[in-house]
């Protein structure tokens, strides 16, 4: 696993979203959960309308899966799952898409490969990041970044990146 710090990174992403408990359906009925369904919905749209969103960077576009807490999340556990990409002209996206703006934050970024993509890896890696950078996470959202290096969850050689926003820090690097 490789770690790095991305400073002052903001995002304007174009994509599709879901709000609720994305695992509720999978718990009892379907093999796929709402996150898988959201990916399929997005990719089906893009297959039908190629070029609807010109994801950046050109050539090897990156897709971000964001998990975002809302005011109701603490009470009910429901939250938003958003999947989207950076584009040159986000406001020109088709009506089926929504724009997600994430404010500038420092991010602890971890590349995860193959078998490290096991259940609970988000928690372990987030804890690693806190220890490494001495700052608490901003738990209101988190990102996963997928590009051509990702070939499937747990596949040998498959890679994705976890982007964990850090809470604003003090001059000496400690959390405040």
């Amino acid at each position: 696993m490789e770690y790095r710090l991305e400073r002052g990174r903001s995002f304007v992403l174009v994509g599709m979203n879901f709000f609720g408990n994305p695992f509720q359906a999978a718990g009892a009925w379907d093999e796929d959960n709402e996150i898988g369904s959201l990916w399929k919905r997005l990719m089906a749209y893009l297959a039908e309308f190629p070029g609807a969103v010109e994801a950046s960077p050109p050539g090897d576009p990156a897709w971000f899966e964001a998990h975002v807490m809302h005011p109701a999340s603490a009470a009910t556990g429901n939250y938003e799952v958003f999947i989207g990409a950076e584009t040159r002209a986000p406001l020109e996206a088709p009506p089926a898409f929504v724009v997600k703006s994430l404010p500038a934050r420092d991010y602890a970024v971890v590349s995860v490969e193959g078998a490290d993509m096991a259940p609970g890896w988000e928690e372990r890696l987030a804890a690693d990041a806190v220890g490494r950078y001495g700052r608490a996470l901003d738990r209101r959202w988190g990102l996963q970044r997928y590009d051509s290096r990702f070939t499937g969850l747990g596949d040998p050689g498959s890679t994705l990146e976890i982007w964990s926003p850090l809470a604003p820090g003090t001059e000496d690097g400690t959390a405040r």
Binding site: G27, A28, G77, G120
Partner: protein, 261 residues
């Protein structure tokens, strides 16, 4: 302690927190805190290991405990609703109806409610058993099933060669026409019914909820999963009062099927 043990231990702490907090202010964030997980991860783990979303579970546990007091009589329904942290009688009534299909007032009048669909407490051991059993619930549709066999002796083994058993769990006949408690086999399409002493049951086609695992199943655990988790979450209920047990060669149950509305 491995990762799996830690997950169950975390879940167990959250479940204990729920039972302690049925009458208190408690939200999913506090449950996640008890588990020492982020909210995102907690929702995933809780749902995966119990079949319930954490908020769904909390609300169903509150309604289940409140329902006992509603049916018992005595205190006012409003007092009971407020004690279990419902903000209004209307909210309590909606939740109650969603869980049991009748209002608290009706349950009070009749002095009872469908206890079989009330969510009883889940603990760490239950979650471990559910996980190790590999039991999963699924919905499916199936055509009319005609089953021929012999009456089953209560408490006895299924007769040799039986591949399916129909178990009536109440006296109401629909949708199982004919003899409601038999063990035998499914008639092939167009196959004539054997004469006496065989008996026949017809299970109307339609929706079913099915609990199955990788091998022989724990029937009581499967019943709990279907009646107290899968049916309530699906928003449907049993259609009639019979269960169909699919048997392996040794007569052990490998699948439980319940007609659904």
């Amino acid at each position: 302690m491995n990762d799996d043990d830690r997950r169950f231990a975390s879940l167990g702490r959250a479940l204990v927190r729920v039972e302690a907090g049925l009458r208190e202010e408690l939200d999913v964030a506090a449950m996640a805190e008890a588990a020492c997980y982020s909210l995102f991860h907690f929702v995933r783990v809780f749902t995966e290991l119990t079949g319930h979303g954490p908020y769904d579970y909390l609300m169903r546990r509150r309604v289940a405990e409140a329902a006992k007091e509603v049916a018992a009589g005595g205190r006012s329904i409003l007092d009971i609703a407020l004690e279990y942290r419902f903000e209004s009688p209307e909210g309590f009534s909606r939740a109650f109806k969603r869980c049991f299909g009748l209002s608290p007032s009706e349950a009070r009048r009749e002095g009872r409610y469908p206890e079989g669909s009330a969510r009883t407490p889940i603990d760490e051991d239950y979650a471990r058993r559910l996980r190790s059993s590999g039991l999963r619930a699924r919905a499916e549709t199936a055509p009319l099933m005609v089953i021929t066999g012999t009456p089953r002796v209560d408490g006895g083994q299924y007769p040799a060669g039986s591949t399916v058993a129909v178990v009536s769990i109440a006296s109401r006949p629909a949708p199982c026409e004919g003899i409601p408690v038999i063990a035998g086999r499914v008639l092939a399409d167009g196959e004539a019914e054997p004469g006496i002493p065989s008996v026949t049951a017809r299970i109307a086609g339609g929706s079913f909820l099915v609990a199955a695992g990788a091998a022989t199943i724990d029937v009581e655990l499967a019943r709990d999963l279907l009646y107290r988790t899968a049916f309530p979450i699906s928003g449907t209920g049993p259609r009639g009062d019979c269960e169909i047990a699919i048997l392996d060669e040794a007569g052990a149950v490998v699948e439980l099927r319940i007609p659904a509305r």
